[in-house]
């Protein structure tokens, strides 16, 4: 298994200090903005058709076909539209957007401008995670550099098309990665999701049609338009084309952000590419897709990492988070940690997530410390069902994914905690003194 560097094509030179990512001239010198130059000559429909041919799907979470999102926003009478780049990378164990924005921010700007041309928008915003505030000066100079080199701003490359990008900071809430909560936050309000419909494609930021895409999705547009959709669609596997940035973390020997073609095998990724579980321990579980992803057991890891396949396992691939746990961890603790995260990050707007999240957390805590009963498992079943089906936004409904998958894939571990059996990792009293 080898990295296939499409998005991170300039990483090596950047790491050696040979490439200055915030200088638009250097990006231009290595074929930068070639995709945009091509897109500027195309009509809106042609651009969307090209994206459709490429088979590109969203890299933020759900893996929604990107061309569809574009087509929802294109057309219409509204003269003001926005392109928003979601750089609120809050999913625990995910660092790909940070790497992309560090190594090649101009590629993201290029993607935004292509998206702007596709939907007829002249304003782009980057919503940057509060924890990435240190990147702000670099991003601002990169934007300025692009403007000075006519890659952004008025009349880009003499095409008559205007596109400006502004930077907006988040304030540290996970929920603001949810698109409508992100809009609320950008509008200066409390970051809480809105109900849908109306959808962002008609009523988004400041009530205007808005196209919101993940950093990685937008970064993919540059190579697609530079080298063509046909070339792009040969990467990866049918249904999940292209390459994917995977953030591998946890108990493996090799951790980091890697760019691999879609459809690689998870088992090979962990045991060959990343050198297996560290300290000679055995694999206990893998969580794909961040805190809201499914937790699978060691017998299930022989799977292809493409969007549909991972969805079928109950998880989500798209943000590319692979968190590996060795058998020196207690699975109930891992789940509890997830739920504590969700309790902390729920915005508190809707009842199921606000109240139900805490109830789930307390039940799991009870089990973790060896005081649980079968009744707790039953209530957890009910809670996950109601929260998943009635929560207002994706944060609430997907907070049940780790619970459901964990209870299914590690049933015996839960039962032994309930029975008061000795837990090999945390001891009979759940690790509590």
């Amino acid at each position: 298994m080898k990295e296939q560097l499409v998005l991170l094509r300039n990483r090596e030179r950047y790491e050696k200090g040979e490439y200055n990512p915030i200088d638009a001239k250097e990006y231009l010198a290595c074929d930068g903005f070639a995709g945009l130059k091509r897109a500027l000559k195309m009509s809106s429909d042609e651009i969307i058709e090209e994206v459709k041919k490429s088979g590109l799907r969203g890299r933020g979470g759900a893996g929604f076909p990107t061309w569809k999102k574009f087509s929802f926003c294109s057309g219409g009478d509204e003269s003001v539209k926005y392109v928003v780049c979601n750089a609120d990378e809050g999913e625990p164990g995910t660092n790909k957007d940070r790497v992309l924005l560090t190594v090649d921010p101009c590629a993201v700007f290029e993607g935004m401008a292509i998206a702007g041309k596709a939907i007829g928008s002249h304003f782009g915003f980057i919503y940057l995670r509060a924890e990435y505030a240190y990147m702000r000066p670099a991003l601002l100079s990169a934007i300025e550099s692009c403007r000075q080199n006519n890659c952004l701003g008025e009349n880009i490359f003499g095409s008559g098309f205007d596109f400006n990008i502004e930077l907006r900071m988040g304030n540290g809430a996970y929920v603001c990665g949810e698109e409508t909560a992100l809009f609320e936050s950008m509008e200066g309000k409390r970051g809480e999701p809105r109900f849908r419909p109306p959808y962002p494609a008609t009523h988004g930021l400041f009530g205007k049609p808005t196209l919101l895409n993940n950093v990685e999705t937008l970064a993919n547009l540059a190579p697609i338009f530079n080298k063509g959709a046909e070339w792009y669609s040969t990467l990866g596997v049918p249904g999940s084309t292209g390459t994917k940035l995977f953030t591998v973390s946890g108990n493996v020997n090799r951790r980091g952000v890697f760019e691999l073609p879609m459809g690689v095998n998870l088992k090979e990724l962990i045991f060959e590419f990343c050198g297996g579980v560290n300290n000679g321990h055995n694999l206990l579980a893998v969580q794909t897709g961040g805190a809201s992803g499914a937790i699978i057991n060691a017998d299930q890891v022989d799977m292809s990492l493409d969007i549909d396949n991972v969805s079928a396992s109950g998880g989500r691939l798209a943000c590319g988070t692979i968190m590996v746990f060795s058998d020196k961890n207690c699975i109930v603790d891992i789940l509890l940690n997830d739920l504590e995260f969700f309790v902390d990050e729920s915005c508190g707007k809707c009842t199921p997530c606000r109240e139900g999240g805490m109830q789930m957390c307390r039940r799991v805590k009870k089990i973790a410390v060896g005081k649980g009963s079968v009744e707790d498992l039953r209530v957890l079943d009910e809670l996950t069902e109601v929260i998943n089906n009635t929560a207002l936004c994706g944060l609430g409904s997907s907070s049940t994914v780790p619970v459901v998958s964990c209870m299914k894939n590690f049933k015996s571990a839960f039962l032994s905690h309930i029975d008061g059996d000795f837990c090999p990792v945390c001891g009979a009293n759940g690790g509590e003194a």
Partner: protein
Amino acid sequence: MINLTIDGVNVIVPEGSTILDAAKAASIKIPTLCYHEDQAVKANCRICVVEVDGRKKLEAACSTPVAEGMEVKTATPRVIRYRRDILELILARHPQDCLNCHRAGNCELRNISDQLGVQKHSPRFIQDNREHEKDTSSPSIVRDPAKCVLCTRCMTTCAEVQSVHVISKENRGYYTNIVTAYNRNLADTACVNCGQCYQVCPTGAIQIHDDTWKIYEAYEQGKDLVVQIAPSVRINVAECLGEAPGTVSTGRIVTALKRLGFKKVLDSNFSADLTIMEEGTELLNRIKNGGTMPMITSCCPAWIKFCETYFPDQLDHLSTCKSPQQMFGALIKTWCADKMGLEASNIYSVSVMPCTAKKFEVQRPEMNDSGYQDVDCSITVQELANMIKVAGIDFKNLPETPFDSPTGLGSGAGLIFGATGGVMEAALRTVYEVVTGKELTKLEFEAVRGFEGIKEASVDLDGTVVRVCIAHGLANARKVMDLVREGKAPYDFIEIMACPGGCIAGGGNAPRTWAKAKARMEAIYEEEKRLPKRKSHENEEVKTCYEEFLKEPNGEKSHHLLHTTYTNRSDLLGRLRNF
């Protein structure tokens, strides 16, 4: 029009309707908690979830628009199970002390619990009541955040209808709470005491400050209880006691008050007429002598505090007239006391108001021109209804009793003070006849009536055109005041009422909706037509009062007893900024 099926029933509803609207059309009552018909949809409680054919997850009925051919199921076992779960999740944070809660009778949370039959199931979730202290600092409103269900109706009203933004959310997730800025006491905030948050609260989280005990105490001390009732009270008491909105019960209220031990029951319509005499004269004087224009009404204590807080530089525009409650208060312990043969020092003067802000007004230190506190205690319509209930009075079947004299007569002009535009209409009737010397043939000024947020009209007084403006709801008042501040308000006379709809929809009444407010408004105009006198200056008792006591409007005695001054309260905002 859109065709859809709800629980097998075909319904046709206009485009843009929600599933909740369509369900109503199909005679299905979907339980709701955060939804309020006067407010924008919030969709945060999730109680109203329904199944929509073809969709994996459930949808909130309040926020989901209908679509052609949609098939909705509102009462499958799955839907009911989820609704119960959501309700039980709310109840797991809610104190289980309904017996001690003032909302026991009309609590929406309890009604939903009844509807869903949760009491038949053992609680499955870990009980963890919200622990927050009660805030009793305000003379008008008591906040009990422990009972809050975070529907956000109150903060929506405070922000959008009244534009004062006193309460909003703090913290997030499980620890979300509705608080004042920096968790300060309500009394120390820019809260205008209007009580509109109480009007929309579905539970006991916001209550009216209960002052009825003061009355019982005064009664036991052998004080002479004298009470005045505001114009809109006669429209609203019956509704609080279970009758239809808009049921007029003037005579029954007098009977009930007498049975409750009040020696004299007087009508604030009288002092409303008096207000018109004073305020109308003041307006004419300002026009004649080049006083500060436009002149703005001062009947509404919530509006006054709003103006003192946000527009302290514009206080000169306010009429110096006290509100009818306070004018009456000053007269009850002076002229009326003599006429009624009571000792002023032994009078305990009570007012029944549709208003929570009046409780603040009676405490203002300048309101003691009679030599005593002018009005000792102000209670709301809700509190009076409670007193009637506690006393076991069968209100529905009470005989009628007339008001006591000498101040038991009010004109129709006084009565319509209760609706937005009423003060203006009453003033115009009098000012017209005073200025022109002619009799007004058509008494109804339709242009100043109705629920439009800001109303404008021009009235021709024999060549002199008076331009008037009426605003209700403080967000609307703010718009008008911004114009006044800029010197761009093209008006001579402005009426402002804090509560949307006017006093008939005031904070002290039964919980509001626009539909109820409309019924109350229609009742007030209907009742007005029946009154023998419909102009303030024709009120015989007002004439007597001037002849015997006050001498002339805006005269020396009037100025002493019936007019007041205002205070700059912008420090309430300044303290916020410098905290």
